[in-house]
Subunit: 156 residues, 2 copies
Amino acid sequence: MKINLLFTGKTKIPYIDQGVSDYFKRLKHYIPIEIIIIPDLKNTKKLSEKEIKKKEGENILKVLPVSNFIILLDEKGKEYGSVDFSGFINTKLNEGKDLCFVIGGAYGFSETVYRKANAKISLSKLTFSHQMIRMIIAEQLYRAFTILRNEPYHHA
Amino acid sequence: MKINLLFTGKTKIPYIDQGVSDYFKRLKHYIPIEIIIIPDLKNTKKLSEKEIKKKEGENILKVLPVSNFIILLDEKGKEYGSVDFSGFINTKLNEGKDLCFVIGGAYGFSETVYRKANAKISLSKLTFSHQMIRMIIAEQLYRAFTILRNEPYHHA
């Protein structure tokens, strides 16, 4: 069993990158985990939002581990509390599934990506930047495993 | 009009500190803003959670700007979307109020602090660490002002 995190575009903000790396290191104690980065599109200035989503979607589909249980982080998704979220992860892992959490680009997902999703999860009613979402999901995954193992949450 | 952010304890995680500083700098273009840090308690190992909350609460009350509209970030609070959150801030500022957002320590707020609150806001159904919440509220305040000014959101 394994968790894949698929990020659309490089993490450009240094403190987000550090935060993701920190939680990534902690998570590796619990489960194999891999971050897959979709390369940034080039020459996006002439593209509409829809065209950007479409091209990003094509690039996501090229590398999406389709045998995984695919979870999009999406504002239209289901909202969980942290305990329920840990239960959700536990259930899926117990079913023998690898999980792939997908974070889209600044404008969200194309329809083709939505069609590949097994679940959609929303982290909040608030809109977070797609960079912040990386750190938040990493923290929530770490928190989920501390809950499942009944271990104290280490804040730093 | 001004926004105060009251944090319980120093920000101990360097990347969180950098994130807060980043959004703080951006926010200053829109509104005067100040971060007030409640000093960390000493010798907490012998204290129960309740005692820690009580002592932290006493320290919060010493510096709480009581003339402000006091908003606790609390899991029992109201959840907003980002647009509604910007509307909430706008309404309060238009009423001529300074706003003080208060983030508690690891165990939350004491009853005495709850009694001083004018509003409670929850950032998510998920539980975030009180360190992460600092960065998330800073980002949401920045986002709120970009929404109110109808300006593009700058991701980095």
